[in-house]
Structures are given as structure tokens and as C-alpha cells.
């Protein structure tokens, strides 16, 4: 591998930019494909798309090419230090997500309630800009309180997060869409919010809702449309 290719690969990883490395095992030529870029005709578009989706590497059938993905580790921002969050945060960690919990209500956002997770007792609009939300970040709002949830949803939609979900009934969500639209959030933004949050599995308890939310986040991550085409 050329030292320059290694340097560019490491730069992309540091910048949390998804990149696929196509290694021609016969010629020794390495090509980097960055997410969102057009794939050159002489590169295997299908294998590259698959690598961006799954994050896994693969040897081509002919064994001439090795295609591997370097995706940023996904982050999960949980708004609300609530009961569901107490189950969701450790489950998310197990699934390979890096969770952060935000709730300005200091009685909820305590390290005692979340011994293993970073908890920030701040308003979302104050601390989210510093957390670097991006296309490999998921945001789940769980407080039921528009004063806390709405600002987080606005920031998440503007940042292009791969998943934005909000707790609340259909009726609650209809009012939420109205509020966000009135507040000037781009037209297609509010409609992309997953609500009611979580896959429909009849979840009844906070832990079960956490499973439904986590499954929905994983589906959003792994079933993204081809990131490069």
C-alpha cells in the first residue's frame, strides 16, 4: 500500500468520513472511494455499495479485488434521561453504538441513573452543536416535552443524521410536525422523523420499547440506500 493512500485513509477516518478501499491484488493498485462520490467505471460499483451498507470487507469472486469499508463508528444521541433510556443506552453500547444522553432536568440526568453512559444535564440546543452530529449519528428524542425534544429534532434534521426518531403518539407527532414546519425546518425534514418511535413489535415495557428503537436504528444504518453509486 502506498504511504499516501494510508495517509488519506487515516485522514478520512479522523474526519468521520466513510471511505471504501478497493485493493487490486493483481496489480497492487489501491483506490479510495469516498461516500457520496461517483464511482469510477473501472471499479466494482456493486461491491462498493455493499461495503458502504454493511461496513464489511469482501474478496471479489475472481479474487482479484479486495473491497473494504472504513465507516465512522455510529453515535447515538438520546434526548431524555428517562426509563427507556436506562435500557436503550446499555443495549446500544452492546450493539456497537456510542450513546450520549442529554436532559436539562438535573433530577433525571444523574450518573447514578446511568452509571455506564455519558450524561449531559444541558439543553440540547446548547450542547448538540459541540457534539459533531453527522450522517453516522442517530438521534432519539424520548422526553415527550416539546421544549426539550423540538430543538434537538431541528438540529438533528439539519445535520443529516441517518436516524431521527421521536417518542409520542400519532396525534402528538402531527402537532410536532406543525410546530417544526412553522418554525421553518425544511419541508421534507419533519416527515423523515420516525414516529411513533421504534419498530412495530407491540413493545409494552420501557425495555421492550428500547429494543424496538434500537432495531429501527440498526435498520436505518444497514438498509441505507447505496451511499455511493
Amino acid at each position: 500500500m502506498d504511504a499516501d493512500v494510508l495517509h488519506r485513509l487515516n485522514e478520512a477516518r479522523t474526519a468521520r468520513r466513510a471511505v471504501v478501499l478497493v485493493k487490486n491484488l493483481k496489480t497492487g493498485k489501491d483506490s479510495l472511494v469516498f461516500e457520496g462520490e461517483t464511482v469510477a467505471d473501472d471499479l466494482p460499483g456493486d461491491l462498493i455499495g455493499e461495503a458502504f451498507r454493511t461496513g464489511r470487507g469482501k474478496l471479489s469472486e475472481s479474487e482479484d479485488l479486495f473491497v473494504s469499508a472504513y465507516l465512522p463508528p455510529p453515535k447515538l444521541i438520546i434526548i431524555g434521561a428517562v426509563h427507556i433510556s436506562q435500557a436503550l443506552a446499555p443495549m446500544a453500547t452492546m450493539a456497537g453504538l456510542d450513546p450520549v444522553i442529554i436532559d436539562p432536568r438535573t433530577a433525571f440526568a444523574t450518573p447514578e441513573r446511568f452509571p455506564e453512559t455519558t450524561v449531559m444535564a444541558e439543553w440540547p440546543q446548547d450542547c448538540l452543536p459541540g457534539l459533531g452530529l453527522d450522517a453516522y449519528t442517530a438521534v432519539a428524542t424520548l422526553t415527550h416535552d416539546p421544549k426539550i425534544d423540538d430543538p434537538a429534532l431541528t438540529v438533528a434534521l439539519e445535520a443529516g443524521c441517518f436516524y431521527v426518531g421521536a417518542l409520542g403518539s400519532r396525534k402528538t407527532h402531527a402537532r410536532r410536525i406543525e410546530r417544526l414546519t412553522d418554525a421553518g425546518v425544511a419541508a421534507d425534514g419533519p416527515s423523515s422523523i420516525k414516529a411513533p418511535i421504534g419498530l412495530s413489535i407491540g413493545a409494552a415495557t420501557p425495555s421492550e420499547i428500547a429494543v424496538a428503537v434500537l432495531a429501527e436504528i440498526i435498520a436505518a444504518l444497514r438498509q441505507r440506500p447505496d451511499a455511493a453509486a
Binding site: M1, D2, A3, L6, H7, L9, N10, R13, K23, L25, G28, G55, R56, G57, K58, L59, F66, S68, A69, Y70, P73, G96
Partner: protein, 108 residues
Amino acid sequence: MAETLDENVLDIAQEWRKAGREVALATVVQTWGSAPRGVGSHLAIDGEGQFVGSVSGGCVEGAVVAEAIEVIESGEPRMLDFGVADETAWEVGLSCGGKIKVFVEKVG
């Protein structure tokens, strides 16, 4: 996460290279059965045989390092095939054998 540890291997490989050390990079490109490390796992090796990362959780690192030193000397990449014998696989905590294909190349 395992991925995070793996990716640090690439940073270390770059640092070694910058410091003027000869470096080879080994990458798992295919696995069968219960191979201990997934496709894309890296091992970085320097000309003195020092290494970071892993391609098999300890089973075949010794052999990969020896091959890597030759790759550094010759500059020619190699594809290595390893069958993890049942007995060895048992020792690393696997109930059945696995096979891995490892590509070793010099970082130029």
C-alpha cells in the same frame, strides 16, 4: 469496539512509516467457519518484527510476522492461507476449525 482497535492499527502503521521504519500491513481478506477475526482485520509489522493488531486472535500471528519481514525485504505482496487446526481453534476458544486468507503488503 473491535473495529476501533483495528483502525488504530492503521494510525500506528502510518506513524511507524513517518518515523522511517519499514512497515508491512497484513489484512484478513476472507474467512471460513469460525475464524477468530473478521474480514478487514489488520496487523501492522515493522522490519524488526514488532507488531500491533491481530488477524487471528493469536493463532497465526507468528507466521504472518515472519512472512511480513520477507515481504518488507522483497517488496512483493503475498497471499497467505491458514487453516486453523481444530486443536488450535479449541485453545483460542472456538469449538470448530476456521480458515483465513491474509494479504500481506509493504507500506511504500
